[in-house]
């Protein structure tokens, strides 16, 4: 059977519980805008009565964080996709801008170059027309060179991004390992806070690179990268390294002395690797093929002609060693650039013959590039399309992952996020609980006073 002092004790415990509730609610409200914060929900338990007596009251069983492991995993899973698409889209946006406007880039220079030969064909002996052909050739070569420089700059920027990602990943894995150690030795609210930090760190990591995450029984997480290579195991972490590789000195991602660049997928680093190793080399190869075709085709016709001195035509462009590096190395033959009389417009050797000039001008419309036989302009338009299409795909992929991420984020928030409406209700609830218990405490206290006074009387 309950006694008055027991009731006082019950009221006191309940006051503690309501105060604890207010404290947790206050923390939730304080963290309403804290990224990664998981709301805490006060858990109160009735104290079981002893020997059938109902004097137990309430006790605080904790304030567990409201986490949904599945949603947290989905959030982590979408992160690499968003960052991958974003990184590729950002890098390719720069590339597509550097391609120049329609008619004012390589396509315009190609048209002007072949048009100069067309004008020359109207008067093969004109020094003005000859100089124009040479200067248009120099301009075309320069545009190819500049385009290669810009592509290389984008490649280098992606490489720098990879190096930066390595540094960030190492910092995060260090932090996660440290959190793992702390979580395994912590309990209660401090463990929940550490787990929030851990979730944020893992999520940040998954934006940098696609990782595998395995939950440990002690609350920590093990992290793997690539083909299941360990980055974090409990309190231990393994640092990524950056090693320059020949010939251009681009960065290889190393882990425990092994090059894992090819295993990296997803995230900012995966995107940067794709930009550097897949996209830009693809565009560079297409550009090289185009430049090589221009040089080969023009030289092939030009060398069959005769210059103004009646001598056999030399090469208009300096011959190239092969397709790779063509766009970077294309240049008008130095002797030709210095003396436009070396330009061969004549097939017969007669100074007024324009057949070579006409033949070179006609190359503009000839199927000259690749097995499909594209014209030079078509080949350029294919490069533009490729860059635009790849950028568009990356943007679409980023948007698609972002949409899923937002939806999952909302689901996660519906479980773990702080709702001010909820907290206001809880505030009211614990306030009322506290007021009622205080009243109960005062009442019991009055009754005890009354009894004590009766005894004194």
């Amino acid at each position: 059977m309950a006694n008055l002092f027991g009731s006082l004790s019950t009221a006191a415990r309940s006051l503690d519980a309501q105060q604890y509730g207010l404290d947790v609610t206050g923390k939730n409200i304080a963290n309403v805008n804290t990224d990664g914060y998981t709301r805490r929900k006060v858990s109160l338990t009735e104290i079981a009565s002893r020997n059938g007596a109902s004097d137990g009251g309430v006790e605080i069983s904790g304030a567990p964080a409201q986490r949904d492991a599945f949603l947290e995993a989905r959030l982590r899973a979408e992160g690499p996709g968003v960052s991958l698409g974003g990184t590729i889209a950002n890098a390719l946006s720069v590339v597509q801008t550097s391609l120049g406007d329609t008619g004012k880039s390589i396509d315009g220079d190609l048209a002007a170059f072949f048009d100069a030969f067309r004008v020359l064909s109207q008067d093969p002996t004109s020094s003005v027309s000859r100089d124009t052909v040479v200067s248009q050739g120099v301009k075309l070569a320069k545009t190819f060179n500049d385009m290669t420089t810009r592509l290389y700059a984008s490649e280098t920027a992606a490489d720098t991004q990879i190096k930066g990602s390595i540094t960030q990943i190492n910092a995060l894995t260090t932090q996660i390992a440290s959190l793992n150690a702390a979580i395994s030795g912590a309990n209660g609210s401090s463990a929940e806070s550490l787990k929030d930090q851990q979730a944020i760190a893992v999520r940040s990591l998954s934006h940098l690179v696609s990782v595998g995450v395995m939950q440990r029984s002690d609350g920590g997480v093990d992290i793997t990268v690539g083909d299941g290579r360990a980055l974090v195991v409990g309190g231990n972490f393994y640092q990524l390294g950056a090693a320059p590789t020949p010939p251009a000195g681009m960065t290889a991602v190393m882990l425990n002395g092994i090059d894992i660049t090819g295993e990296i997928s997803g995230g900012q680093m995966g995107g940067a690797i794709q930009v550097r190793d897949v996209f830009i080399p693809k565009y560079q190869t297409q550009l090289d093929q185009l430049a090589n075709s221009v040089v080969t085709q023009v030289n092939a016709v030009h060398s069959t002609g005769f210059d103004m001195n009646g001598l056999n035509g030399a090469n208009f462009f300096t011959p190239l060693g092969g397709v790779p590096g063509s766009a970077q190395n294309i240049a008008v033959d130095p002797a030709m650039a210095a003396n436009s009389n070396l330009l061969a417009a004549s097939l017969s050797g007669a100074v007024g013959d324009n057949q070579i000039a006409k033949a070179i001008a006609a190359l503009a419309d000839a199927p000259a590039v690749g097995p499909a036989g594209s014209t030079f302009t078509q080949a350029w338009s294919q490069i533009v399309f490729q860059v635009g299409s790849d950028t568009q795909n990356a943007l679409a992929s980023q948007q698609s992952h972002q949409d899923v991420l937002s939806a999952v984020q909302q689901l996660r928030d519906s479980v773990s996020g702080v709702s001010l409406d909820d907290e206001a209700t809880a505030l009211l609830m614990f306030q009322r609980g506290y007021q009622a218990n205080a009243k109960f405490f005062a009442t019991v206290n009055d009754v005890i006073d009354l009894l004590m006074n009766m005894v004194r009387a």
């Binding site: 889209a89 390719l92 946006s93 597509q96 391609l99 329609t102 008619g103 396509d107 315009g108 048209a111 002007a112 072949f114 048009d115 067309r118 004008v119 064909s121 109207q122 008067d123 093969p124 002996t125 004109s126 004549s346 017969s348 007669a350 100074v351 007024g352 013959d353 324009n354 006409k358 001008a361 006609a362 419309d365 302009t377 078509q378 338009s381 294919q382 533009v384 399309f385 490729q386 860059v387 635009g388 299409s389 568009q392 943007l395 937002s406 984020q409 689901l411 928030d413 519906s414 479980v415 996020g417 702080v418 709702s419 001010l420 409406d421 909820d422 206001a424 209700t425 505030l427 009211l428």
Partner: protein, 295 residues
């Protein structure tokens, strides 16, 4: 489902999306373009590159036709001069033919023939921008010159043609010997030289042969002028065709990347409303929670 409101994330996302759409629509209206970068519509940009090239190619051919036209006009008028002078030479020769012409008449006719010969020689050595039009590919050398008292053709037999369209070319420098000599044993300048002497001396056999040669030269010159006239007519047709093709190519190019202004303005207005709505919605929602109602 519990609904939480993250003003920073959800609100900003909504505002960014709406403002991006608004900025895009605004740019389209201001620039008149639908496509800013290749990724906006890769296929349209690829088509635009090819259509732009078509426009530039047409512009190139237009310049070529203008240049060719100037040369053809000069060729035409020069050949017209030659035809006229050959007719005058025939008239002068006929005047001296027979027994009725006095010595004074024959002397005057001879003098006239000598003048016409010099005129024809001048015509055949006509230049355009310093380049000879009747020397075939030998554009830097006078086609006809008197070397050691003998009229000598210094050009060659290969005409110079230029392309004025993908599959059409016109002759801008021709073989002068084909006009002045053709299949005859001597060119018309040499023939007129002989006629000058024959007219002075009354050598009827030479005069008769000379008249025949002048006739043949006249036919060749008329034939050459007709060919030039045909080329001129072609160039005129091609110029008209190039104008219409350019209009069509520019229209295609415009369709690739230009914006439908009415549509763009409508979308800009919609985007503006959406943007204002996003700002308002975030502002309103951020102010409301149960906490505002608790006292």
């Amino acid at each position: 489902m519990r609904v939480t409101f993250n003003a920073v994330r959800d609100g900003l996302d909504a505002i960014h999306t709406a403002s991006d759409a608004y900025a895009t629509a605004q740019w389209q209206v201001a620039s008149g373009k639908r496509v800013r970068v290749a990724s906006d519509d890769p296929a349209a940009v690829q088509q635009a590159v090819n259509d732009q090239n078509a426009v530039m190619r047409i512009d190139g051919y237009t310049k070529a036709t203008d240049s060719a036209n100037a040369r053809l006009s000069l060729l035409d008028s020069t050949l017209g001069d030659i035809v006229t002078r050959l007719m005058q030479a025939m008239t002068a020769t006929q005047s001296a033919a027979g027994d009725t012409a006095s010595q004074a008449t024959r002397d005057a006719d001879a003098q006239m023939l000598a003048g016409l010969r010099d005129s024809i020689a001048g015509d055949i050595n006509t230049t355009f921008n310093g380049r000879y039009l009747f020397g075939g590919q030998q554009s830097m050398t006078p086609p006809y010159a008197q070397i050691a008292g003998v009229w000598t053709y210094q050009g060659d037999a290969t005409p110079v043609t230029v392309n004025v369209d993908e599959s059409r070319s016109v002759t801008i420098a021709m073989d002068g010997r084909k006009v002045l000599q053709g299949g005859d044993p001597a060119d018309i300048l040499t023939t007129i030289d002989g006629l000058v002497t024959a007219v002075q001396t009354g050598n009827q056999a030479v005069i008769t042969a000379g008249l025949d040669a002048l006739n043949r030269a006249f036919s060749r010159a008329v034939q050459a002028q007709t060919a030039v006239g045909t080329d001129e007519a072609s160039v005129t047709d091609i110029q008209a065709s190039l104008v219409s093709r350019r209009t069509s190519a520019v229209s295609l190019l415009s369709g690739d990347t230009n914006v439908d202004l009415a549509d763009a303005i409508t979308r800009m207005n919609q985007a503006q409303v959406a943007y204002q709505g996003a700002l308002g919605a975030v502002g309103t929602a951020n102010k409301q929670s149960l906490l505002d109602y608790l006292r």
